[in-house]
């Protein structure tokens, strides 16, 4: 993606609500969220457990539909999309990174990335994606043969290999120690800088907000803070 118009909105959420009904109990995960995300931007989403971070990201990524409000990806309204449209949207525009990597154990690192490049419209070669995350030497290893940090970097390579418009990362360092966590953040930082991919990064870890362009804080299903980060640092300068 070319980052020539840095202020163009990629996502726009207007008054988004999400209610889960479990038995007789209604749980309000989101209670009216307004948010927009511009191209090339790296946003850190902070909040306590149950504040609605994951729900919001799932809705932005087309994994879930809002109960109310509207969500747009560029000019397309996701909140009205069919399952087929959401599948196509995920396939063409979104890269996901999860806390537990979600690699296919029966495929090697290269094959896990190829899984995506085979169905993407304009992918980079799997080797290039793995090189970007510093795993050129581990391409033929299977998930069970890699450390957690390595597995997460394979997941990032898999997410960026399709050259997505947006990268959605849900606690990508949650299962990692700080040293490997920083390696993973490095990879995300470089992808954002070099490819200009808009990135949303969910975390519990407040230290990580220092690498973002912008920090959004959620509490009880609402945005309670949305501030630019004027004092941006490299992941290597972060510690926890």
């Amino acid at each position: 993606m070319i980052q020539d118009t840095p202020t163009l909105p990629v996502f726009r959420a207007e008054g988004v609500t999400r209610v889960y009904q479990t038995g007789a109990v209604k749980v309000w995960a989101l209670r009216g969220v307004d948010l927009s995300l511009t191209e090339g931007e790296m946003v850190v989403l902070l909040g306590a457990s149950g504040s609605g971070k994951s729900t919001l990201v799932n809705i932005l990524g087309g994994l879930d539909l809002p109960s109310g409000g509207r969500v747009f990806f560029r000019d397309t309204e996701l909140s009205q999309a069919t399952d087929r449209q959401l599948t196509a949207f995920r396939r063409d525009h979104v890269g996901f990174v999860f806390q537990f990597y979600n690699l296919v154990p029966s495929l090697s690192a290269r094959e896990n990335v190829a899984l995506v490049t085979e169905i993407a419209r304009d992918p980079m070669p799997p080797e290039e994606a793995l090189e970007r995350v510093g795993l050129a030497h581990r391409m033929d290893h299977f998930p069970a043969e890699m450390s957690g940090g390595e597995q997460q970097r394979v997941a990032i390579a898999r997410a960026i290999a399709k050259r997505p418009d947006v990268l959605l990362c849900d606690e990508p360092t949650g299962a990692l120690d700080s040293k490997t966590g920083i390696q993973v953040l490095d990879a995300l930082y470089e992808v954002n800088r070099d490819l200009g991919t808009a990135t949303v990064l969910i975390t519990h870890n407040a230290s990580i907000q220092r690498i973002a362009h912008r920090v959004v804080v959620l509490a009880d299903g609402k945005v309670v803070r949305d501030d630019p980060n004027t004092d941006r640092v490299l992941p290597a300068q972060v510690s926890w």
């Binding site: 994951s54 729900t55 799932n58 990524g61 994994l63 879930d64 399952d83 087929r84 599948t87 196509a88 949207f89 995920r90 396939r91 063409d92 979104v94 996901f96 999860f98 537990f100 979600n102 690699l103 296919v104 154990p105 029966s106 495929l107 090697s108 094959e111 896990n112 190829a114 899984l115 995506v116 085979e118 169905i119 993407a120 033929d140 299977f142 998930p143 069970a144 043969e145 898999r158 399709k162």
Partner: protein, 786 residues
Amino acid sequence: MRALDRKMLRDLRKIWAQVLAIALVLGCGVMVLVGAQATQATLIQTQAAYYERHRFADVFAGATRAPSDVVAAAALIPGVAQAEGRISFQAVLDIEGMAEPASGRILSLPAAGPALNLPLLRHGRLPDPDRADEVALSEPFAEIHGLTPGSRLRGVLNGQMRDLTVTGWVLSPEFIYTMPPGAMMPDDRRYGLLWMNAAAAAAAMDMSGAVNDIALRLTRDADERAVIAALDQLLDPYGGTGAYGRARQVSHAFLDGELQQLGAMAAFMPPIFLIVAAFLVNMVLGRLIALERTQIGLLKALGYGRAEIAGHYLKLALLIGVIGVVVGWGFGWWIADAMIGLYGDFFRFPFIIRDWGTHALVVSAVLGLATAVLGGLRAVWSSLKLPPAEAMQPPAPPSFARGAADRVLGALHLRQTTMMIFRSILRWPGRAAITLFGVSASVGVLVMSYFIFDAVEQLGDSVFQQANRQQVTLMLAQAQPDAAVQDALTLPGVLRAEGAFAMPVRGVNGHLSRLTAVQGHFPDAQLSRLVDDAGRVVTPGPHGVVLPEMLAHALDIRAGDTLRLEMLAAPRSVLHLPVTEVIRQGMGQEAHISAAALFAAMDIAPQVNMIHLAVQSDRMADLNAAIKETPAVAGLSDWAEVRRQFDATLSENLLTMVGIYTVIGVLIAIGVVYNAARIQLSERSYELASLRVLGFSRAEVGYVLVGEMMLLTLLAIPLGWGLGYFLAMGLVGAMSTDMFQIPFHITRRTFALAALAVFVAATGSVLMVRRRLDKVNLATALKARD
């Protein structure tokens, strides 16, 4: 109820569909066992009671004409409890409303009432000893023709047309299965039995003071072989045609054959189902335990012992077994009822003594429960080995490593989703093998059951298309010079006539002997030919005899050996002839020789006692009418009618049986594929959900699940064909009786049908599971780790 037991019941409810699938497979095994054994036991008891109450004889013999006092002499043979003589002969019958002639066997009723083979009066009364024209008819024959007491029919008795009056309907333990002479199937329309009082029969046949049919009842400790030898000796001067025991009595032998086949079914089929069910229990329980590993860890941490945990899961296995056994019992009883009904009607048992198959119930319950528990053992064992701390952690990702197979797969440049299918099979070869085995077992069962159609078709083709191409065979009352064949050409509609000569003989080789017939074959016969199972026309050479395999086997004789043939009709020659060839012939019982060689050896002029006719199809009515007026003809076979009977009898019985086997075969396929797919889905839902998140469509993700199952199904099909081949071979062995052997030849159609049925069942099952994939909530599937 203990908390653990409550958990077990809830576990069971959670996996109810899988439990049902296993229970149905297990139930099929139990059902076949209970159904076949209960039917067999009931028929055996009924048969025994029927024989006992109606004093079915133990030894039978025929003669040309023996003075009545041989009966008293026969009663003195050591081991004989009771002897009875009667007159018995074939007659052509003319029944109103029936174009073609029927035939029947007339049996005399002693004036004092029969002492053996008591007829059971079903309707009306027995003939009056003072009335010469009265007959009682066998019930099936009378029923078909509506010949109620008082009705009349005409019969050619000893060359004279006689009017007969029906007095009643009768059943007899001697004719449970009534075969017209020379036929292969019962034919109640064209063949009946007629009981007539002794004086009338003797007068009609010119047999006063003589008998030609003797029956003996033996004492409990009698030596049947010795009695038969003594009776043969006694009747030899009177044209004895050879005594035989129940084993060679047509009705008894066929009934016994049926019972033997039921026994074979009960022994042959259930093990297949039980083995498949054991594997399924293993698969499902293994998965359940894998899913519950953290709970097992917790239970251990809470202080539950290994025995309690093992007991908990074994109880679950046992419960699956109980469900299977109960389902199987229910269906087994139902099937037994249906089969007993079918057999009861077919054999016309006057009563049924129901045996509930208690023995089968116990055996099937033990086998069924043992199957479930054995299947569960390995899975339960794996749960015990886990230390609690480790059990409470989520399992490590399954390790894949590069092997030789990967180099091959890599070289194929497959899509990654296809690669996932292959890797999954390679990573869990044991599980793939169970699926493979289960599906191939279902293909095998179907091949075996559809093969029965092939066998019948081949039998029909060989008997009707190859061997017997005549429309009509005339049985002559007495042997005639071969000029009689020329006379037959003058009958209406006859296009071609060929003579044939057959004679009852006793084949003897050392201490082994067998009552049979020898067929003399005339050169250039076009209508009735000797054909082996491969469809080859066999022409007996100028010297020696050709024997079918079963006869050669019974006499333990091979080509090149010399066979002693004792003619059982005048001039009662004894011949010693070399066996020139032994041929495969499923239904063959008789010895074959060239007519010229036979007449030369017997030193008699050429003669015929059967004439085969090719007839213009539109002149059959004229021919039938003419034959009714021809006293020289003692009976006839209309081969189109024989074929119709053959098809009707077999298709009715076979369709039911094949229908049941198809359901069973398909149930195995469903049980195996459904369970395997559910387990795949459960183990890989996380992985498959990830694919959806990555943007794969439902169809593409479904491909990974469906693809693996269908690949295994496709691989299982050729294996199943092989298995089916051996099952069919085993079935041929188990079902073959002394009287007949099923030809072993499986058509491509059978293989294709079996494959198709299983493919459709497997596709349906896996698609049912695939639908569950649509219900997986992507967001939660990714968060929740097993």
